[in-house]
């Protein structure tokens, strides 16, 4: 155990994958940070720790929020003690393995181009390729959902093929359509409700990653995999009607243990 400063409470070498640093954030949260990079192995550790913390049902813990390489554990400081919680989380970290049990894969339909995919032509031009090549590259990739964030059901995806890496717009749009499929930098995104965004819009999916009136309201989870496939306007409209009635439209395909 290494004490780095009054805020950095504990640093642990948890296994060969990464170190972990525990830091108090404000008076009611504990941040567990793994190595500072976007890496599926590190994200797997984050999500496994999340499961362990939730399963432990620690008194006073109210939210466990994962991101690419960190986990924020929010608690009530009226109920829980920081010292006790830090010790408990440190022991959970020590028990952490490095294998995720099972990955779910979703195949997500996309209507590329058009109004909701108005940056498709620009992206093709920027990379000196045809729009078909952009679509093919986007559909061939197997994306990993690193986290949900920004707004309900918005999925941050890693695994965008390098030839498609594209800077975000210099000034964000005030609103992008619901279900927008976009890219920004080296990441991909599945949108849900209409929101402001500075990412490049390639298309739109009828799949509602978040629907407050549906049970379950969320479909895709952090740690899942996503692959896109192109549909035409007629198919999009058919699927959109089904989604309106509460159809999830997609089914998870299970895959074996991750390496």
């Amino acid at each position: 155990m290494v004490i780095r400063c009054k805020l950095r409470i504990k640093i642990l070498q948890i296994n060969l994958v990464s170190t972990a640093t525990l830091t108090a954030v404000g008076d009611s949260a504990l941040l567990v940070e793994f190595d500072n990079r976007i890496d599926p192995a590190i994200n797997t550790q984050v999500l496994m720790l999340k499961q362990h913390v939730e399963a432990a049902q620690l008194p006073g813990v109210i939210e466990v929020v994962p991101s690419y390489r960190s986990l924020l554990i929010q608690y009530s400081c009226i109920i829980a003690s920081t010292e006790q919680l830090t010790a408990t989380v440190a022991s959970l970290l020590e028990e952490l393995g490095d294998r995720q049990s099972k990955t779910r894969c979703w195949r997500v339909p996309v209507l590329y181009g058009g109004e909701a995919g108005c940056d498709l032509d620009d992206v093709a031009r920027l990379h000196d390729m045809s729009t078909e090549e952009v679509i093919n590259l986007h559909c061939e990739a197997v994306f990993r959902v690193y986290m949900l964030g920004f707004a309900p059901g918005w999925c941050y995806l890693g695994g965008l093929p390098e030839p498609l890496h594209t800077p975000r717009l210099s000034s964000p749009r005030l609103q992008v359509p619901k279900g927008c499929i976009s890219i920004g930098g080296q990441q991909g995104m599945i949108g849900a409700l209409a929101m402001p965004s500075g990412w490049r819009l390639l298309g739109q999916t009828p799949v509602r990653s978040y629907d407050p009136g549906r049970e379950p309201p969320f479909i895709i989870e952090a740690g899942d995999e996503v692959q896109f496939f192109a549909v035409d306007t007629a198919e999009y409209q058919r699927l959109e009607k089904a989604a309106e009635k509460g159809d999830l439209l997609i089914e998870a395909v299970g895959r074996g243990p991750e390496q």
């Binding site: 805020l7 954030v25 404000g26 009611s28 690419y68 390489r69 924020l72 400081c77």
Partner: protein, 315 residues
């Protein structure tokens, strides 16, 4: 049986139904929402003896007008707003019995910007994802039919016993403060010493585009040690982000769940409600305190509110 409640005569979108927030869904990108000044929200419920998380109407800067459509109801208002019943001024931080046909008008704030209207027994609304807190952009919370002129906001108790009224005297109300207490980090190392010194030793003014998502500040530009970007990381109400521009943004209750700007500090839980009362142009400064001190303050406030009902004035 007809529905009893408050008939909206006039309202603005800045009036929303809120509770203490929606917990358990941040990992799906769902913002916490809830009262921007949790302290005054709780006081509104304590005055009536309601459970502490009973949904209240939150008013921000503007008021509204309501007609009572129930035999009798009891209300309380916490926060400094002008209040009128049938054009007669009534006190805030106080309970009042109202009867069918009475006109309740919430005017403008006299101090701070937010106030909370509670009713005995609470408003009748269905929780969504475990909370009634309104978050317009997520399509969550509030009343099923929305809240516009003509809407009826249903209440659970259609009749309130004509019991004594209670008030919270001035000396027990939370005092105003312009010095916001902050716990350093978690990305303190992303700032230069000069940036940190400027943050804690100069003052900042609240910008007009501040809202329930975040309070935008302007003052000395805070100097970064790096490029002002991090890999997106979870944030929470009170996180003080500093984007590349150097102007700090304090994330509030409707803020995002993750953010990609370095965070210079986190506001102590007890001062979140203080932030919720800040208006455009007001000046604040930051004071660093330890985690232990911030937790001590939070426990003190919890204890104070837990026993407050015994210290109310009764008349």
């Amino acid at each position: 049986m007809s529905i009893a409640g408050l008939r909206v005569l006039q309202i603005t979108p800045l009036c929303q139904l809120q509770d203490l927030g929606r917990l358990g869904y941040q990992s799906h990108g769902v913002t916490r929402s809830g009262a921007a000044d949790p302290y005054n929200f709780k006081v509104a419920n304590i005055l009536l003896g309601n459970p502490i998380n009973t949904p209240c109407l939150e008013f921000a800067l503007t008021g509204g007008e309501f007609e009572i459509v129930a035999d009798s109801i009891k209300i309380a208002f916490s926060g400094n707003f002008e209040l009128f019943v049938n054009n007669r001024a009534i006190d805030s931080y106080c309970t009042h019995s109202l009867h069918r046909g009475d006109l309740l008008r919430v005017g403008t704030p006299t101090l701070g910007v937010r106030g909370y209207l509670s009713v005995l027994g609470g408003f009748d609304c269905e929780p969504e994802l475990n909370s009634c807190a309104t978050h317009v952009r997520s399509g969550l919370g509030g009343f099923a039919g929305g809240m516009t002129a003509g809407s009826l906001l249903p209440v659970r108790h259609t009749w309130a016993p004509h019991t004594r009224d209670y008030a919270l005297r001035k000396s027990l109300q939370r005092p105003q403060r312009s010095s916001i207490r902050v716990i350093a980090g978690p990305q303190q190392a992303h700032f230069t010493q000069r940036g940190l010194d400027d943050f804690y030793s100069t003052s900042f003014s609240v910008q007009a585009d501040s809202d329930r998502m975040g309070i935008r500040l302007q003052g000395k530009s805070i100097e970064h040690a790096g490029d002002g970007n991090i890999i997106s990381d979870p944030v929470l109400p009170g996180s003080v982000q500093v984007p590349a521009s150097g102007d700090p943004i304090i994330l509030m209750v409707d803020g995002p769940t993750t953010g990609g700007y370095p965070k210079i500090g986190t506001v102590a839980t007890v001062d979140i409600g203080v932030l919720g009362q800040l208006g455009t142009g007001e000046t604040i400064s930051f004071e660093e305190i330890s985690v232990a001190d911030a937790q001590h303050l939070a426990r003190e406030e919890h204890q104070f509110l837990a026993t407050l009902s015994h210290r109310l004035d009764c008349f």
